[in-house]
Assembly symmetry: C2
Homo-oligomer: 340 residues x 2
């Protein structure tokens, strides 16, 4: 890859990768460096792919290289969390512009490896290329004994959320307006956008509960789970499946969100409710389950809030209102994941 020689050489990249990422785990028979990595997997395998692209999913103006590396992996890990699975490894397709410096590259791998280490996650392989913009395509693998899918809900089931709603969206708007200056004034919101923490442990705890419940009652579990990547207005219909409705009580918003809306909008122009519903990118988890099962959830997961119940037909009401995902900020900035 001589094209990088002035700034980043292929050797630089490979030595960076070896410095930051382990190549061994008990799943790995042969690690990266061959045509394929070889894994030994006996439980059901979860797989997901997400891209993270310059000026679409991030901007260099307010994402540090570490943030870029962290978040590129985090959005993938969140899909594994939403399946109730244990991540076991990932591959990275990394495309870099010619003028990428070794510092930027080190930063990206350093941020990515910091998150990977939280889950002892090996890098299984990947590909490198030149390109006109920086893009990262990650495929992540996980294993699960009780996969948590969408669209298991039955009328009367409860709807719960784990984690925050609206913080990342506040961070996005502030960072777009003010750049990195926003980080001091609204640290929680900005970090929720720059460095979301995937709720792997919570997803795993739910999966274990579901499996154990299923064994005790001798019935299949119907715990459904999804991550809140595109906002409640878009993700709750996906969670419920076709034809279902819901009564949702929007959870309490963080004080930074209230402060942001009070400072930036005149009354009635934009409501905290709407902000919560169009949110997106929080990578919180939203789920449905039977009321009996739901009664035990709080004992296992502390940051879980029951926000409503499933009805047998549309619409989905948020605080009594129908609301659609809409955001005049989002115009030229694609945030939502567009899963196949």
């Amino acid at each position: 890859m001589n094209q990088y020689s002035s700034l980043v050489s292929e050797e630089h990249i490979l030595s960076c990768i070896n410095k930051y990422f382990p190549d061994q785990s008990h799943f790995i028979t042969a690690g990266r460096g061959d045509d394929c990595a070889i894994l030994s997997v006996t439980s059901p395998l979860c797989i997901s792919t997400d891209m993270f692209i310059e000026n679409i999913h991030f901007r260099h103006s307010y994402f540090s290289p570490e943030d870029i590396g962290w978040k590129a992996l985090a959005v993938n890990l969140s899909d594994i969390a939403a399946c109730g699975a244990q991540p076991i490894g990932f591959t990275v397709g990394l495309a870099l512009p010619l003028n990428t410096s070794i510092d930027i590259l080190e930063g990206i791998y350093s941020g990515m490896s910091r998150l990977a280490k939280q889950f002892n996650l090996p890098l299984l392989g990947g590909d490198l290329s030149q390109a006109s913009e920086l893009s990262i395509c990650i495929t992540i693998l996980g294993e699960t004994h009780a996969p948590l899918l969408r669209a298991q809900a039955q009328p009367g089931d409860i709807i719960f959320i784990i984690g925050q709603v609206g913080l990342a969206h506040t961070g996005l708007q502030l960072l777009e307006q003010q750049g990195t200056k926003a980080i001091e004034l609204y640290p929680k919101s900005c970090m929720a956008h720059l460095r979301p923490f995937p709720l792997i442990h919570e997803g795993l705890a739910l999966s274990k509960m579901a499996k154990s419940w299923s064994q005790q009652t001798n019935t299949p579990h119907r715990l459904a789970l999804i991550d809140n990547s595109d906002g409640l207005a878009q993700d709750i219909p996906r969670l419920l499946g076709k034809g279902k409705g819901a009564d949702i009580t929007i959870p309490a918003l963080d004080h930074e969100i209230i402060q942001f809306i009070e400072s930036h909008y005149t009354e009635n122009e934009y409501s905290p409710d709407l902000h919560a519903v169009i949110g997106g990118e929080d990578y919180s988890l939203i789920g449905t389950c039977s009321p009996n099962f739901g009664a035990k959830l709080n004992m296992v997961i502390s940051n879980l809030t029951i926000i409503g119940s499933v009805t047998d037909s549309e619409p989905i009401l948020f605080n009594g209102q129908q609301m659609q995902g809409f955001d005049h900020f989002r115009g030229n900035y694609i945030n939502p994941s567009n899963k196949l």
Copy 2:
């Protein structure tokens, strides 16, 4: 994904995907459309990721959309072939410029699905995004009972090749010079570059032979395999592993290659031998094995040629000469895969 509305909408893309790609196989517990696909895999799992990027790996000027889709998948399948594995599914991260038309999109998926159908290969999921250039990042999974890795060679082992050498490189040079006009004059070379056919069946046959040999002799097999993606000069050292040498007889070149070199070079400026050695992108398979094992290879695989033997120290000689991968055509065009 409103950003595509003038030309390609998200609905277009998803309906295209559903039209072209099956979502079911006996490995799939839950297909694409959830946060993860869920697979049931009990044999060793092979995984590989390759990118295919506009103006780096392909040009619109001579790649049809169908060629782009075909080749993006073919280069990934070749890694599965080089492991001696059966492909079982893949994910696609697809980034598209705003002005992509539905015809281009249909073409890409159509070409990709034509190759996928050859191997009953389901699409497991992926991601869509806007980007300034077209890029495709594919992760492919395979299963194998006897993985064929690199660097198993011992001195005295034979070296063999399955498939052609140098055709794709001829095609690349001609297409760069003459565009699609070259296809009529040099159809085999151009198609070798535009639509390489991954040697999955040959890889599988070798893997089965290796497993059976290993069981009969009660010893581990030492059949090593790699795909010829960067040319013999670069790929044979990777195949052999560190410190090994070889005596290679360059295999007979196709008449299109000879014709091309005679028409385009004066004598001594550029030799057919050098052309064969720097080749690349043929996605032929190169392997090493013990002479005893090698004696049976031709009975199983018809297009296999023994091209040399392994020595206990460098250098690697091609027709008696040391040769390095060098190509004045390659200047501003990255072709080699850069596997991690």
